[in-house]
Symmetry: C2
Subunit: 362 residues, 2 copies
């Protein structure tokens, strides 16, 4: 049974909200955010003991494939599946499903992210094992995170009745998916105890997700069938390219999950998970000193300074703060960001402006 | 008469509050704060049309003399007077007085600063002319600045009765000198209309200031007499060195002005003067954009940012701010300061800490 469990890492994203450290040519999963290893490498490392490298697949875009292969040489080259262009997650899942179906008709796949952070790896493995069991019983399983604060940065899943438990991990029906809420709504969701953050990680049988696509996304399904027929021929790449041209950009949440039946959610509270979706989110992930300051890769001297992030690039420059709080300072060498913590999400607007200006720093 | 008017620029100071741009080996007067010319050069330029270079004297310390000479080659070399070590302004004035007395027994001297800013140079010249006239009548004249906000960063002069006017410039008795006040006291002084900021600039007859020193600072006076006797011998430098060892560090305000009679003050309101004594003071001096931001020597992109100073070093680095206000960002290349505007004075503590640590950046 276990040998039909596969991991699929979606590694094609851009990610603009960690600018100036992430860039167009150095997307978030390629960033060494915490030191030596990139977020992609950390995402692969995290699977050790759960999946052998032969059962780890990576879906990415051509521009990133070479570097990702170099970063994870233990993963067989043919396990890197290339999208001609990024079309959001529904097509990624579809393409991976086709690849896995060719490899093992009984495949059960965990759809995982390349640029998130998980502190508690043991717990992550327990959660995956439970999810594979539930998926084996015919559920589309989403991994939820019990909120520990009223985040406006995450989507939410409405959890329904408990439908079972696996080694103490409770499984619920999923009632629906919610977009990122505003502040007021986030507080309500946080208070109600019936909502989990949507981690963007899923587990399901490959044949079952393909059936759902046939039902809900017939255009994508038809394309995938064309690709499947040419999979073991030298027309595979050409066929993918043609199919991809006509695809709509849509997420798996919208395209499939919202309209699917038999959706289960497993909400866990102690995973130490973060999507590292903004500089502010680093406060969930990196340890702070006694003043609440997070100092990373920087020579730092702070007077009357608190609850601030100082993120350097190990270049020996001294960064001094005086009387600041709730501030984010990111020094990427050629660009410096100074940002109020609660404005972290707006970094995306900075990148859009820079791209519009044709800046080499975007 | 005019040929007995001399300018003495005091250029020996250190100045730690413009760190990281000013340093131990690049004191404030050596800083190109506004572009091409250093504050010292700007202080010399300001005298053009008022004093020919032969009547401009500079008192400085040995470490700085070579650079200052290079920066003002038009001033004759022998007009640079060297202190063996800085002993505050009373001894500077005393030494300059001796030098001027040798040059011209009728000398009247304007004691000027090397590291302040004056926007309205024409007004400055009018003020000096009036001050020379008043000094010629036997007054020790201090140049006062009518406050335009309740500053806690300046000392104050209590102005008394009007004793005359020269071309519309009113002259008052000075009743007393006040230290930098706290916020409450500064508001009272600002409201009362009888107080002027102490600019640290003075005008007086050389023989008169020497008589005051003989009366109030006999130890300094005795030393100055020894130096005077050796002035035109090859023992001059050696004598200055010996005298300087025993001198007390004391300002001319404390040492002479507070106890002097016949002190006059000329308070002016439209000089555009600033002592440039902190990063915050640059808001009095440099023009701000429509958001109240001052951007100097920096590639800058600001979103929702206001009333902030971004001071770069023309190195092409992009500085982006997001959601900040009342912030000071100074990028000196090897060191970066991010400081709440109202904490500007505390920069001095940063420098003290760095010196204690033996940092090469102090």
């Amino acid at each position: 049974m276990y040998e039909s469990y596969f991991a699929v890492i979606m590694a094609g994203g851009g990610g603009t909200r960690l600018w100036p450290v992430s860039r167009q040519e150095r997307p978030k999963q390629m960033v060494r955010l915490f030191g030596e290893r990139t977020l992609f490498q950390i995402s692969v490392d995290r699977l050790e003991g759960m999946f052998p490298p032969e059962r780890i697949f990576v879906v990415t875009v051509e521009e990133q494939a070479r570097q990702l292969r170099k970063q994870a040489p233990e993963i067989p080259e043919q396990n890197f599946i290339l999208e001609p262009s990024p079309k959001n997650t529904a097509s990624v899942v579809g393409l991976a499903a086709v690849a896995l179906q060719k490899r093992d008709p009984n495949a059960v796949m965990a759809v995982l992210t390349a640029d998130h952070y998980i502190a508690n790896i043991e717990r992550f493995h327990q959660l995956l094992r439970a999810a594979f069991q539930v998926a084996g019983e015919g559920f589309l399983v989403t991994l939820g995170i019990k909120p520990n604060f009223p985040s406006t940065g995450y989507g939410y899943i409405h959890t329904g009745n408990e439908i079972g438990a696996y080694q103490g991990i409770r499984v619920h029906n999923a009632r629906g998916f919610l977009e990122k809420p505003d502040e007021q709504r986030a507080k309500e969701l946080f208070a109600s105890d019936s909502y989990a953050w949507n981690s963007g990680m899923f587990v399901w049988k490959v044949d079952q997700i393909i059936v759902e696509m046939a039902r809900q996304m017939p255009h994508l399904y038809t394309g995938l069938q064309m690709i499947s027929r040419k999979w073991n021929t030298d027309e595979r790449a050409e066929t993918i390219r043609k199919v991809w041209e006509g695809l709509e950009r849509i997420s798996i949440d919208y395209g499939v999950m919202e309209g699917a039946e038999n959706v289960a959610v497993i909400p866990v509270s102690d995973l130490g998970w973060s999507d590292v979706g903004s500089w502010e989110s680093l406060f969930e992930v990196l340890p702070a000193d006694e003043h609440g300051n997070i100092i990373h890769q920087a020579e730092f001297l702070g007077l009357d300074s608190q609850n601030s992030l100082v993120y350097g690039n190990n270049d020996g420059r001294l960064i001094v703060t005086l009387g600041v709080e709730d501030l984010v300072i990111v020094d990427a060498g050629d660009a410096l960001l100074v940002c109020r913590k609660e404005h972290s999400q707006q970094v995306r607007e900075v990148v859009q402006l820079l791209r519009k200006q044709g800046s080499r720093l975007a």
